[in-house]
Structures are given as structure tokens and as C-alpha cells.
Subunit: 377 residues, 2 copies
């Protein structure tokens, strides 16, 4: 048993028996979760597979042979879902499902319910290249890791491409948009269907104190932070031109405002707002997804001073698109109302999209799908 348990040998792992089949998706969209745990007294499955994507906790029923099982009484809409088990009050992931994603300090299992026009799956379309590449940041004081997507055909076309800089939220990192956000699958699919222009996608690490995602820097396989990092001191925003300059040097880009977009979620929306107004000639397109658009403490950094004057300068330079999206239940909703009132009062043009739901990846993936087709036309 100890041999079989380690899974470190290819030959040994081949002979490892999975716990059971879980999750299982029926043809009509119901999902069944299973766990063989004969000695357990209480097992539940917890995730965002409730009706309308609500977070839900469902007791699993013990059947023959110690198999615990739960089937949703409703069909699930096409979406990427996340779940885990509670076994006698201990949170474990499903040992039958190798697909897991980390969000900050927590791994959860995922599954996808595919559907017509499924944009989150790897479909049978040409695929872009996804690279992990390091750039040097003199402002922040170290080399830093980026995720870069170049569209299918980039290697052979010889042409230049526009660039979307896509920023993560607090607790995220350079892996967040390509993993939880399915951004590379979304781009592959939107480009293949002709709904989006072929473009480069740059997903930097927005934590000024961090070189790379947990486990990817020389700090080793550390436990990811579980507290909000206190690194919004304006230095990340100040360092951003280093990223743009690196990308323009390294890839065949359209080196012009009309060939650059910046968008982000939550803290990344704040960064997108701050950076785009700080460098009004850098980005032609701006996307704020559930953005933290509060007034920052102006004593922290010059970046946070003179917001109104900088917004005036930005809108005088006429961005092609300023797009704001948020869910009705988002805890940043009021902050966004206030920010839109500011834009309205000054007569600055923007497009507003309001969705259901709160501060969740499901919304951010949706917003990306809505935002990207509007770029670089």
C-alpha cells in the first residue's frame, strides 16, 4: 500500500486505483458527486453548483459499500464550477478528481459543464502559446514573473499584434487569470470564432512585494498568504511602464496607445484605473471589472494624488473605450456607483455593464468575454 500511495513512479501510479468516479455529469446536465468512505459518519459537498450558481452545501447520502453520493436535483448551466468535500468536519478535495485550482491559500476541485459556444473549454480550434517569462523591474528591485499568451499563428505571421494587459485581484498572482479565469481558453475560442481580434494577453503579478506566484520564486514552496497583502503603495502603478516596455521589446506588438488595453478585477481594476490615468497616452482601452475605485490615501503615494485632474487629462486624450462592469451583489457596488457619478458629473464617456451576483470569478470570466470583442476594432 505504501508503494501504491506515493504516486511518484510512473509505473506504480498506473496501478493506483481511483477512489471512485466523481464528479459524473449526466447527459441532461445533472452532476453526481461520490466518495467511498465507509468509516465516515457525515459527508457533504460544498461549492458554487447551487441554482443560478449559488454557493451551496449538500449532505451526501451513504449507500451500499460505504459510497457517499449526491446528485443535483436540477441541471447545471454551462459553467466552470468549484467544490470540495467535508468529511466529518474536515475539508478534503475529491480524491477521484485530479482537476484542482488554487485560489490564494485554498485548492478546490473544478469541473466544467460544457454547452453551446463553450468558451472555457479547450476546444478543437487553433491554440495560442502560453509562456511564463521573467522581466527585470528596477523600480520594484527584482526580476518578476509574467504569463504571456500569444495568439495562434504568432510564431509564423511576422505581423504585429495589439496587447491586452489583464490584472488580477488581491491574493491573486500571474497565474490567476490563466487558471481560475480561463483567459487563454477564452481568447483561443473568441479569436477562432472571429469575435475577437488576434491579440497578445499579458498577465503580470500585481503584488508589488512579490516576484512570482507562491512556489514559483526563490522563497520556496511557502504557504500562500491568507491575509490581504499591504502592498498598494503606488509602486506597482509606477513600475508598470517597465512591463509595457519589456513586452514591446520582446514581442511583435503594436507600439501605440490604440494597440494597448488594460483591464483588471477588484484590486486589478483599481490598478487599471490608476495606471491608465497616470499614463494617459499608454492605453486606448480600459476595463474595470468589480474594481476597487475608492479614493486612495493621497499621503501614501503621488500616484494617488490629483485623481480628478488626472482623470480629466485621461479623458481629454479620448480613450477609445472605458468599460465598467460590476455585479448587483458585489461589496464594491456602492464604490462603483460613486465612481460613475464622478464620471457622469464630468461628462466622461464610458460603457457600463451590470450583472447579477457578487465578487466572484464567474462574473470576471463573463466580463472578459464581453470586454475582449470590443478591443482593437
Amino acid at each position: 500500500m505504501s508503494l501504491a500511495a506515493t504516486g511518484l513512479s510512473a509505473q506504480q501510479a498506473l496501478r493506483e486505483k481511483a477512489n471512485t468516479t466523481s464528479p459524473e455529469l449526466s447527459a441532461d446536465g445533472h452532476v453526481t458527486f461520490r466518495l467511498i468512505a465507509p468509516a465516515a459518519t457525515q459527508v457533504s459537498v460544498n461549492g458554487d453548483f447551487g441554482i443560478g450558481g449559488a454557493n451551496t452545501s449538500a449532505a451526501m447520502t451513504r449507500t451500499d459499500g460505504g459510497v457517499w453520493e449526491y446528485t443535483t436535483p436540477y441541471a447545471l448551466a454551462p459553467e466552470l464550477y468549484s467544490y470540495s468535500f467535508m468529511v466529518d468536519s474536515v475539508r478534503f478535495n475529491d480524491p477521484s478528481n485530479v482537476y484542482q485550482l488554487r485560489d490564494i491559500s485554498t485548492l478546490s476541485n473544478i469541473f466544467i459543464v460544457p454547452g453551446d459556444g463553450d468558451l472555457y473549454s479547450v476546444n478543437d480550434v487553433p491554440h495560442g502559446t502560453v509562456s511564463k517569462i521573467w522581466y527585470s523591474s528596477p523600480t520594484l528591485g527584482f526580476d518578476r514573473r509574467l504569463t504571456v499568451y500569444t495568439p495562434a499563428g504568432y510564431e509564423t505571421s511576422g505581423r504585429r499584434y495589439p496587447v491586452l494587459y489583464l490584472l488580477h485581484g488581491m491574493g491573486g498572482d500571474e497565474n490567476a487569470w490563466s487558471e481560475l479565469g480561463r483567459a487563454t481558453q477564452i481568447l483561443d475560442n473568441l479569436i477562432a470564432s472571429g469575435k475577437a481580434e488576434p491579440m497578445i494577453l499579458v498577465m503580470p503579478n500585481g503584488n508589488a512585494s512579490q516576484q512570482a506566484a507562491p512556489g514559483e520564486s526563490h522563497h520556496g514552496l511557502v504557504v500562500p498568504q491568507t491575509r490581504l497583502p499591504r502592498n498598494n503603495k503606488g509602486t506597482y502603478e509606477e513600475s508598470f511602464p517597465e512591463i509595457v516596455s519589456f513586452i514591446d521589446r520582446t514581442y511583435r506588438t503594436v507600439v501605440a496607445k490604440e494597440g494597448r488595453a488594460i483591464a483588471g478585477l477588484s484590486m486589478g481594476g483599481m490598478h487599471s484605473m490608476q495606471i491608465s490615468k497616470e499614463y494617459p497616452d499608454m492605453f486606448g482601452y480600459v476595463g474595470l471589472f468589480s474594481a476597487a475605485v475608492r479614493n486612495m490615501d493621497t499621503t501614501i503615494s503621488d500616484v494617488y494624488k490629483d485623481l480628478d485632474a488626472k482623470l480629466a487629462r485621461q479623458f481629454k486624450a479620448e480613450p477609445k473605450l472605458y468599460w465598467i462592469a460590476i455585479g448587483k451583489d458585489d461589496f464594491l457596488y456602492k464604490e462603483n456607483v460613486a465612481f460613475r457619478q464622478k464620471l457622469d458629473a464630468a461628462g466622461y464617456p464610458y460603457i457600463y455593464h451590470e450583472s447579477d451576483g457578487g465578487h466572484i470569478w464567474r462574473n470576471w470570466r463573463d466580463y472578459l468575454v464581453l470586454f475582449v470583442p470590443q478591443l482593437f476594432k
Copy 2:
């Protein structure tokens, strides 16, 4: 609780409480595993952290508050280790450790005991770029995914680099060497210390029937195969020049035999032997790591015919290095003895390295560390 359990919102996951701290490494190299599971009656930890890297199963002891704990009575040598828990006979991964790797159909937790000259960790050295890129294979009939490492400086140097093609074993895929094999960290570290030439590393998918690793093709988030794939029909070997041609077109390579190496483990060692003798002018360096070097059924494919004559042709063309490594306990040991006898009888030069242990990643990482410094000098 259901909100906290899903981990799908960045803000929510920040507030998620980890089970406990596990694994914990003491300053003197002892490791402690922990799990808070008050209702459990029996918990063990299983992995390759035994003395000398042996697979081991250790009962954990219940302490106050339902905390189960086990500390190794010995210090662990610097190495990458793998483990999982058995909780009342159910195999779960450690909910406190987000670092896991998939081997075929099984996820296991990992940790690294760092040491002097640690080659498996991300160290504070220049980092190469790691890309997932797709190429077209007319021979196999679809687009296929590759992992490509380009060394630090590639983007700006303008120079050409030699290429090591590194092949996985049965049940592996294009992710195996960069994940379980730590190949990109090993290359970063060996190049930074001057022990290896800067080189490109190409890690293809060696399963002729597969486009990409599980979850990375349009077959969706399928359960990985648990049976040996029956796809050694010579077609992968026949298709290999497509990969070399794609790499030579797409990257700045040394387009010559003396700028190409091929090495692989187990089935990948078989592929390396077969491909290098099939195309005797393609590779200047060959590495067989725990290779399956048996005589293949010659009725399956022309590739497997005339082995002796093809080896004679290959050695007449004088490869710069033919390197064979295997562990004393490997189930392919006898097969390798027979193959070396064949080479010896014909007077073909090769270098042989025999290690302790069996058919395990620990050995394959070691072999890569020994092989790479011999290349392209």
C-alpha cells in the same frame, strides 16, 4: 460555511482558514505532518520520505484537539518528496499543502528539503521562459502540445542555441518533465552555475494517440488513463522529425546534429533509442534513463525492424555521447544488461551510470542532472 468552502472568490478565499500547518520542516531536516481530524479513528501518512528515500507508511498519533501528527525520527536528505494521507482507509491529500503534482491518475502532495547546491528549487538565478506551444503533426493527424524551455537571455541574445529533446515515460505527457521532473529548475540552476551550456529544452507528448495532457485537449477534463496506453506502434518515432522541424523553424536553434540531444525515461528512453537510430544524422547526444530497450515486435512497424543494422549505422555516424543510466532495483535492469551486452559485443562506445533504487522520478531527476552537463561542450 458553504461560502467559505468554495474558494472561488478571491475575497472569500482570503478568509478561509487552513486546516493546520503541514508539512513543517525543522531546521535540522526532520519533517512533521499534521492533520486536524477529530472524528477520525486512524490516520497515516504515506510517501517516499523513508530512510534513503524508501516508500514508507507511518501511523500518525492523535494529540490534543483532534490533531494527528507524525515527525520523522531522522533528518531527510535534500530531495523532492511526495506524500498523501490515509484517513480511515480513504486516501486524501493534505488539505494544508497546496503543492501537489499529478502522476498519471493520482495527485500527491509534494515538498522539497532544500540543501547545498539545491537544483530542484527555484533559486535566485536568471530564469528561462517556459512555454506551452502547439505544433501540427500530419503523421499523427492532429495538432499537439509541447512544453518548451528557452534559457535566460534567449529573447535578447540573438544567438542560436542547441536543443535537448526530453521524453517522458508511459502514462506521462508533455507536462511530466517540467512538473515531476523539475527540468526547468534543473536547467536554470545548472546553466546559472556554469555547469551546463545554455540550451533549449523541448518536452513533447510521447503518446501517439494523444494531443495533449489530460485536461489540455478538446476531450475536456477527462479522468486520466489508468491503464498502459497501447500506442507504441512506431508512429510516434516516425512523426518525430515533425517536432524537430517545427522547433528549428520556430526557435533560434543550432540546426545540426552536434546541436541536438535526445533523452528519455522508460518508454521515453525506448523512444530515444529508436528515434536516434532511425535518424542517425539527427542527434549528436543520446540519453537512455531506465529505458525500455527490449526488442520490439518487428511486425508492428518498420521502425522496429533491423535494429542491429540501424544501430551499426548510428554508431558508424559517431554520436558524441551515448549515455545509459539505470537503478539496481529497476524492473528494466535485466533488459538494460542485455542491451549493453549487444553494444559491447559490437564494440560501440557508450557511458554507463548505475544508481541505487528503481523506476522512480528521484532517479530520473538525478540522471538529468548528470546528463545535461555533458552536452554541447
